[in-house]
């Protein structure tokens, strides 16, 4: 059951990230999507991939995006 919930979280947060006006919120929602993907990898019997995805998808990529947003502009105009 958990896996279906996770898939819905992944797709919903992906769509929500793309319709945000605030780019920082979009970055955080990308992290949501990546984190849910990491848990899904754990359910799919791939613990090593889940660890990497948890670090890269839930921490590094949102931080990169947030840094880029900080150096540029925050609103999507």
């Amino acid at each position: 059951m958990l896996d279906f919930v996770l898939m819905i979280i992944i797709i919903l947060s992906a769509i929500l990230a793309l319709i945000q006006k605030d780019l920082l919120k979009a970055a955080i929602l990308t992290g949501f999507s990546g984190g849910a993907l990491a848990v899904l990898f754990q359910i799919l019997l791939a613990p090593d991939v889940a660890l990497t995805q948890a670090i890269v998808g839930a921490a590094i990529i949102p931080v990169f995006i947030a840094l880029a947003v900080k150096k540029t502009q925050r609103e999507d105009s």
Binding site: I11, A14, L18, T30, L44, L45, Q53, F64, D76
Partner: protein, 128 residues
């Protein structure tokens, strides 16, 4: 459970389609890059789902396990190894793209793709 694998296939296809949609229709360059990174995530999810075995165990041989039982029940580990590489490649590509965006923002002062990445061949051809 074939249901799970089918649902995962649909999820990964949905991620790819979201990425392709954002590539065409979203104007903000950072959001476009976020959207395109979902294509990579969809591909990764699909490849992990290939190795999944319903009711199986994690493919790590612990001491005390029966080898033939392990071979019959463990998930297929080759796709997992491939996805590890692919995740890291995707993150580095994203980092390079964002760095280029930061440099270009200083020149243009906007994040709009239509302004930033428009046709440049006319401007440079004949500047007197």
């Amino acid at each position: 459970m074939a249901q799970t694998q089918l649902a995962i296939l649909l999820t990964s296809i949905a991620l790819v389609v979201i990425g392709l949609y954002s590539a065409i229709f979203i104007d903000n360059i950072i959001k476009k890059i976020i959207g395109i990174s979902f294509i990579e995530e969809g591909a990764n999810l699909f490849i992990v789902a290939i190795g999944y075995k319903a009711g199986g165990v994690v493919p790590i041989l612990m001491p005390g396990m029966d080898t033939s039982w392990f071979a019959a029940n463990a998930a297929y580990p080759l796709p997992f190894g491939l996805v590890l590489t692919s995740i890291v490649i995707g993150a580095s590509t994203l980092a390079v793209m964002l760095a280029l965006v930061m440099v270009l923002y200083r020149r243009y002062g906007t994040l709009s793709t239509k302004v930033m990445l428009a046709d440049t061949s006319k401007q440079e051809e004949y500047n007197e």
